[in-house]
Amino acid sequence: MTRAPWIVFLKELRENFRDRRTLMTALLFGPLGAPVLFAVLMNVTLERGAERAEEPVEVVVVGREHAPNLVAFLQQQGAAIEERPGLTAENASGAVRRREAELVLVIPANFGEQLRAAQPAGVHLHADSSDTGTAGSRARLAAMLQGYSSRMASQRLQARGLSPLLVQPVAVDLVDVATPASRALLVLGILSYFIVFSTLMGGLYVAIDATAGERERGSLEPLLTNPVPREQIVYAKIASAALFMSLSLTLTVIGFAVGLRFVRLEELGMSANFGPEVAAGVIAVMLPFVVLGAALMTIVASFTRSYREAQSWLTAVLLIPTVPIIFAAIYQVQPSLRLMWIPSLSQHLAINGWLRDDPLPMAQLAVSGAATLALGLALAWIAARLYRREGILG
């Protein structure tokens, strides 16, 4: 009776290939939806970043007439100057606090006087540093003011026959890495979760149908009256879920390989490192996870009493692999041999390594595969034990 697992496996495939819902989820929604959603997310992120950098800094100026040169300089540097009737030095802070204005620059009446007297001429910049959304424009305006100040200083020194370089002992050249590109890298980081999610989705309905569905339909009891050891039936069912997951995985990875070409990463000087080799690598590193996911979903679905209950439980299971990925994102973990023991996290790190063109060493990949596969096989064994209990028939 060694043919039995094969017979069960083929029957599950035939049945599920005829089930529209299973097919749509495994072969359409995940593989198509995940890359599309991802590409949109990516493009929005890139555009937002690009827009931010080009947008003029909006400044409300009080007392513009006291410093026409300064205001002209700011406009030249890309600031949008606005005057607001009724806004005075006294209520400027309130206006910022109430978010009526992002930045208010108050120029006192004695500004020109102090400037001419070569005394530090004070201006007041009202801003809310707790508002992270305006941090960029705040910094840019401050830089502009600093620029104006430096230019005045240079002119003064030159008027006195001194080199302006004298007062610039240190030349700081800030290389800003907080560019849209790094934001894109952050989004690229969750690509692995999209792949994990889509892979699990591919086997979701197969796993439910083969367990809770079969019991609810009343076909489990007749099935178990066949002279076939129950563990063979369970392993075949896990294998059929795994096959659908692998299909879903392959299609999703192909979807990403194609979809990422439509993300304008080149504009940021990044290359989407998702060629055929990387795609093959991603599939290979995910295959042990397929076994683990199929076994896990089969166990969870076997415990539930109905199709619907299985559906809600398995939806929760889909969130489990996010946990290590979220931790990885928060703590910015670096790949290490130790972390490769953790399923989902190790796949995430491996995929990210390839995306950053910084592949993980073979030893780490091997540990990831071995550890995930071992856990998957252990769960499959537990599932088989579960089916030996009479309670499985409900």
Binding site: R14, G218, L223
Partner: protein
């Protein structure tokens, strides 16, 4: 030949089956009769290995279901209560699946499926997916599935439940044909008339125990009033073990069994 000895099963504090023992011989139709909750289904489920008995054992052609389950199950065709089909598979594919799980394949399997399609008059829907089948059609497919490996012993749990008159009638015909072909047919029912009309041998179960067994005539003769109905009512009264219905000795049962085995072997098998 099915032999059940001292089967017992409890679920938590509820004793579903206290002590059930009987024999179902080849070439005989044996009816397991009892009110709802008497322990019929639990008994049958232990018989085909879905439940593990707390006590006692069930033998299929001498093979203990618990110990040699694969050998025992190979000799058994089962129609569990409320048996379900695979809705995305056709009737024929449903039957073929079980045939293959019994180790059949190729031309012999296809021939056997054709035979069953004819015998059960499944022609019009044999190649349709079973989704949306009527109760009667579903039962025919489930029956064909149970019989595909030509099992010597056939167990049917409340097979006529939810069937209309016509379907019930054709099921009875099938059961008789199986008997005439020398099979051991064991079926459960809570409908007395059905059991009386069909069975060569009756086992009345009440409160998880056998309260009477024998041919319909034997059972009727031992009860005041002389009818099977009186015997059934006695079982229904709940104190089954203490009624004046004697349990026939095993000698009588095996005598009846060998008589049945002499019947002609038909061609359905």
């Amino acid at each position: 030949m099915i032999v059940v000895e001292g089967l017992a099963k409890r679920f938590g504090d509820v004793v579903a089956v206290a002590d059930v023992g009987f024999e179902a011989s080849d070439g005989r139709i044996t009816g397991l009769l009892g009110p709802n909750g008497a322990g019929k289904s639990t008994t049958l489920r232990m018989l085909y290995g879905a439940l593990r008995p707390d006590n006692g054992r069930a033998l299929i052609d001498g093979h203990d279901v618990a110990r040699e389950s694969m050998t025992a199950l190979a000799r058994l065709g089962v129609l569990p209560h409320g048996a379900g089909l695979y809705p995305h598979l056709t009737a024929r594919e449903n039957v073929r699946y079980f045939g293959e799980l019994h180790g059949m394949s190729g031309a012999p399997l296809e021939r056997r499926i054709d035979e069953l399609v004819d015998a059960l008059e499944m022609g019009p829907f044999a190649d349709r997916r079973t989704k949306g089948f009527s109760q009667g059609q579903k039962l025919k497919v489930a029956l064909a599935r149970a019989l595909v490996h030509s099992p010597r012993n056939v167990v049917l749990d409340e097979p006529t439940n939810g069937l209309d008159v016509l379907a019930t009638r054709s099921l009875r015909d099938l059961i008789r044909r199986l008997r005439d072909a020398g099979h051991c047919v064991l079926f459960s029912s809570h409908v007395m008339q059905e059991v009386a009309a069909l069975c060569d041998e009756i086992v009345i179960v009440g409160g998880g125990r056998v309260v009477a067994r024998g041919t319909p005539a034997e059972i009727g003769a031992r009860v005041q009033g002389g009818s099977l109905e009186d015997a059934f009512v006695a079982a229904l009264s709940g104190d089954g073990g203490t009624t004046d219905v004697p349990v026939p000795g095993s000698a009588a049962v095996s005598a009846a069994g060998s008589a049945g085995a002499e019947r002609a072997r038909g061609d359905v098998a």
